[in-house]
Amino acid sequence: MADPRTLAAGAAAADEVIRLAGIGVRFGPVQALAGVSLSVAAGERLALVGANGCGKSTLLRVLHGLTAASEGQVWRSAARQAMLFQRPHMLRTTAQNNIALGLWLRRIPWRTAQARALQALERVGLAAVAGRNARTLSGGQQQRLALARAWALAPDVLLLDEPTASLDPHAKREVESLMQAFAHGQAGDAPMTMIFASHNLGQVKRLASRVIYLEQGRVLADLPVHDFFQGPLLQAQYPAAHLFVKGEVL
């Protein structure tokens, strides 16, 4: 059921896919997010950065609708969303079935879902393991499988919560190149709006078009990627974000 707050935030710009206004999230005594307002336009590649516990994952969950905001308003366009988690969650069945299940849950007949699942596996280079139990795949393969599952849903907005955090460099590169391809709409795909949390500033530089820096649940900087990594500007206007980029905030 739609969150009543979802519809209450008023009209949006034509290319806007998500807008948050004054979002606060509280888990018991912990204020995970406070006064977060932002707008995401179609085609943006938005990176969420900040130290552990700053609210990146909570913000992604609010954007995706997994966590309800305690205060504020969320507006989502009709754009389809899919989300990837830091640790890919796979059911104890074949890789192909794991993808097909996601489609079946969106009311696509099982046989069609199976065929589309195979296409998705081919898209991420995993067709050879289509019949293998997804839980027996390596971490990198599982994350590519999770990307395939998301891709199969043909989302307009892809949310990713530190998708390469637990991967080795080789797997990291593979997943990142797929993210890049999805975001830019390569190989005949439509471009996706991408919102991702990351600790890897190199990855943020490579993938993002815009960066939001969070600290203790608040947005302290919201800049185009070039400005975010321009030392003097950041230091002058957003000293906390500058310290983070320099590696002095853990």
Binding site: H64, L66, A82, M83, F85, H89, L91, R92, T93, T94, Q96, L101, G102, L105, R106, L118, E122, A127, A128, V129, A130, G131, R132, N133, R135, T136, R149, L153
Partner: protein, 245 residues
């Protein structure tokens, strides 16, 4: 020590002699407990899976009651079912007192909380691990509970074993509602209780060893099934080779 040695000999002799009376009792015990487990698992797996995922007001209270029922004494269950099935009881019209059905009903009541509580715990743990992903894909609570129960099917085999063990080893409930009628409602545990009261300890212990052996064989079969399926699931099934080419 002599009694134990004598009992083991008696047990072996009983099994080896293919005593029809003994095997009838063993078969009846298995039939009662298997039927009760089947019914309790049918209800308990669904209810437990749903409880593992659903969040509603009063859930904590329900779980406290459920966990308390794990310690339900079998004689109390027997007494409750006796009152239900007695001529003046609400289910007296069924005419089930001192019958196979009465014993099954008593064991269902006894085993249902075990199946429900253990399933709830397993599915709730799975929900913590995978629930968010399934929610993200659009699965509601009922579908999520069923998918997670299916995903945890091997862990749930242990629940099946635990519930069967609880059912086949209880004596209080079947004694009260079954009546231990020879050739009709006598099962392994009531036969053991009877032989003990008659002072025939070797025979009672012999029956006990047969009971243990039966449960051991069943558990070994389920464990083997579980290992086989897990191996099968873990292996490469390159079924798509033809499709991909």
């Amino acid at each position: 020590m002599n009694t134990f040695a004598e009992s083991a000999t008696t047990a072996l002799a009983l099994v080896a002699s293919f005593d029809p009376a003994l095997w009838t009792i063993v078969a009846r015990s298995l039939a009662v407990s298997a039927t009760a487990c089947g019914l309790a698992c049918g209800l308990g797996l669904v209810a437990g899976a749903w409880l593992g995922v659903a969040r509603f007001a009063g859930r904590d209270g329900v779980l406290t009651v459920l966990n308390t029922l794990l310690a339900l004494p079998s004689v109390v269950v027997g007494l409750m079912v006796y009152l239900l099935l007695s001529r003046s009881g609400p289910l007296g019209f069924l005419g089930w007192m001192f019958s196979f059905q009465a014993m099954v009903l008593a064991q269902v009541v006894l085993v249902l909380p075990v199946v429900t509580a253990l399933t709830r715990q397993i599915v709730e743990d799975a929900e913590r691990a995978h629930g968010e992903q399934l929610r993200s894909l659009g699965a509601g609570p009922l579908l999520r509970s069923l998918l997670l129960a299916w995903d945890e099917r091997y862990a749930l085999l242990t629940v099946l074993m635990a519930s069967f063990g609880r059912a086949i080893s209880e004596v209080g409930a079947v004694m009260i509602v079954g009546g231990n009628i020879d050739g009709f409602t006598r099962v392994m545990t009531t036969a053991i209780a009877l032989e003990t009261s008659k002072g025939d300890l070797p025979l009672a212990l012999g029956l006990g060893l047969v009971l243990l052996a039966v449960v051991l064989v069943l558990n070994a079969l389920i464990a083997a099934l579980r290992r086989w399926r897990e191996r099968l699931d873990g292996s490469v099934q390159d079924v798509t080779r033809g499709l991909v080419a």
